[in-house]
């Protein structure tokens, strides 16, 4: 439908919406640098996210880029592709931008340079939506840098806070290292195939056989390593707890949900579409199985011993990277579309419940609660809504039937059985059981422990509450609406694996 009414480049509408908003924020700040525009910037950011989200949902419902609507839209000589998968992930990414934009308004009340904060968030989100549509290694590398560079600055943005700067430095050092590894991996793929577009590389691998299989194999493993940094998977996960703890809490929410989802979309696309024919060179499915099991185990075991709530959530988000990696690890040639669908649907639900949990921490920091789990003792008395919302988010993350998280984990379990990899199913169940323990510690603190004497909450910031309510609404609604998500995920996965 849209093909007949709009030019093809309009398929990139969400990207344009985000980048235009970022420039608008900078423009407002240039014209009137001295006045206080916190509310305006937050409104613009939320509006930009909503515009991108609206366009994407409209395209999805109108079958743009899907088999019924004329197939994927290929732009710029095959460098970008807008298909079901790109649109599906753009929905997650723009939704997180909306939530973070809403929440940042209250959180940043005393923050010195808000224009920089909002425009960096929007630029990073632009990179993420572009990465979802990347169809060549050149675009993928540039988009990853466009995500990373603003993220480094955002994490370190509290310039006089030692934790923030330290987290930013660690994030930057690991990020610079992994992007160098990614660039070298891409150069090795170019050495062995002579092209950098996803389709030409895939064709070259299948057509010629490979002259130097060792070089291509190294390249593939290095690229997997570079992407593992974005997904916060082992062995490139060290930055995550430090960066999430040091960063302002809305930034942690943004990075742990949106940045991770963007890392996964490019990994799914590259490994199912491009390196599909290279399994004889290096068995990346086995590599992904090892990564998945190790990542979920390391994340969940480390989360068990955390005393500080942001680190606990950081390790839980590493564990979830392991769960989502099942979508790659179970691609053993069974029902690949189903496996990929399960991973995409899990990332969709995760986007809402994880953002919600980090926004509760943002609320806690706004109230000056402190960073340890004990600081949330007795929250039910002063802020019952926050306590209920946090309980739902955490139990949904654990995979208990409190929201969409239960169904998405069930599908991941089913997917690992479908792929015939029993060890993944066992690891998934064991790790989910472990995760119930540490999530329960936070829930117990909020509901059963007596509050500290000086716990006195007077303010109820509207923006933060609205963002949390939205995240809660979607986390709960995604349980009955999970079939709807699955349907779109399956259409997206079908094009990529087909």
């Amino acid at each position: 439908m849209t093909l007949t009414t709009l030019p093809e480049w309009a398929a990139l509408g969400p990207v344009f919406a985000l980048v235009a908003t970022a420039l608008l924020v900078l423009l407002v700040n240039t014209v009137a640098p001295d006045s206080d525009h916190g509310g305006l910037f937050a409104t613009l950011t939320t509006g930009g996210g909503l515009t991108g989200l609206g366009i994407t949902v409209w395209y999805l419902l109108g079958d743009t880029g899907q088999p019924d609507g004329g197939g994927p839209i290929v732009l710029f000589d095959g460098n970008l592709v807008v298909d079901g998968m790109a649109l599906f992930f753009t929905v997650v990414l723009t939704s997180v931008v909306v939530l973070v934009g809403l929440a940042s308004y209250d959180y940043l009340e005393s923050y010195p340079d808000r224009a920089a904060y909002y425009s960096l968030t929007l630029l990073s989100a632009t990179g993420m939506t572009l990465l979802a549509a990347a169809n060549s290694f050149v675009i993928a590398f540039i988009s990853i840098e466009l995500i990373s560079l603003p993220s480094y600055a955002l994490v370190a943005s509290m310039k006089h806070d030692r934790g923030s700067v330290e987290g930013g430095l660690k994030y930057f050092l690991v990020g610079a290292l992994s992007s160098a590894i990614l660039a070298y991996g891409i150069s090795l793929v170019y050495v062995s195939t002579g092209s950098l577009g996803f389709e030409p590389v895939a064709e070259a691998i299948v057509r010629d056989g490979i002259e130097f299989p060792g070089i291509l194999g190294f390249g593939i493993l290095m690229i997997l390593g570079g992407f593992a940094f974005k997904m916060a998977a082992v062995p490139f996960h060290f930055w995550a707890p430090e960066a999430y703890e040091g960063a302002p809490a809305p930034v942690s929410a943004f990075l742990s949900s949106a940045s991770k989802a963007a890392g996964f979309v490019v990994t799914f696309r590259v490994f199912t579409q491009v390196f599909d024919g290279a399994l004889g060179v290096v068995d990346w499915v086995v590599a992904a199985q090892v990564l998945a099991v190790v990542t979920m185990t390391v994340g969940n075991l480390a989360a068990l011993r955390q005393e500080r709530i942001k680190r606990l959530l950081a390790y839980s988000s590493i564990g979830h990277a392991g769960f989502a990696l099942i979508a790659l690890a179970a691609l053993t040639g069974g029902d690949d579309t189903f496996v990929l669908t399960a991973g995409m649907a899990h990332l969709f639900v995760y986007g809402f419940m994880n953002t919600g949990a980090f926004l509760i921490v943002a609320l806690g920091e706004y109230w000056g609660l402190g960073r340890r789990i004990e600081d949330y003792n007795g929250l039910r008395e002063q802020a019952p809504f926050a306590a209920v919302a946090m309980t739902v988010f955490l139990y949904s993350l654990a995979g208990l039937p409190a929201g969409g998280g239960f169904l998405s984990k069930l599908y991941l379990l089913w997917a690992s059985l479908e792929g015939g990899v029993a060890v993944l199913a066992v690891a998934l169940i064991l790790n989910s059981a472990i995760s119930v323990f540490y999530y329960s510690r936070v829930v117990r603190a909020m509901w059963t422990e007596p509050p500290a004497d000086d716990l006195d909450i007077e303010e109820h910031p509207t923006g933060l509450y609205a963002a949390i309510a939205l995240a809660l609404l979607f986390t709960v609604l995604l349980a009955p609406g999970f079939g709807f998500v699955l349907e779109f995920a399956e259409t997206g996965a079908d094009i990529v694996t087909g």
Binding site: G167, A176, S179, A180, I181, S187, Y190, V191
Partner: protein, 101 residues
């Protein structure tokens, strides 16, 4: 006289390994950055040499992008290192341990 293609691959692998070595042993954040630059330039050597071999411009074009992005990365990185220096009065990366466990 033309250099055989294996020569470029060996050169780039050597530069990359020097970079990795630097990353692993250097404690100064600026030297860490220089080591990362070496690794990126190792990728550029591959891209440019094999761009000539394959007779297309893809590799050289991507090398230009990598150079530009490396510069952008250093700009952000130096900013973070300066603010680290102001907070910790050191640019030794092993000093950044206040949050460990």
């Amino acid at each position: 006289m033309t250099v055989p293609l294996e020569g470029y691959l060996l050169l780039s692998a050597a530069v990359f390994c020097i970079g990795v070595f630097g990353v692993l042993v250097r404690r100064n954040a600026l030297l860490f950055l220089m080591s990362v630059e070496l690794m990126l330039n190792a990728a550029n050597i591959n891209l440019v040499a094999f761009g000539l071999e394959y007779g297309n411009l893809t590799g050289q074009l991507f090398a230009l992008f990598v150079i530009a992005l490396a510069a952008a990365e250093v700009a952000v990185g130096i900013g973070i290192i300066v603010s680290f220096d102001r907070n910790f009065e050191s640019i030794d990366v092993t000093d950044a341990v206040t949050m460990r466990w």
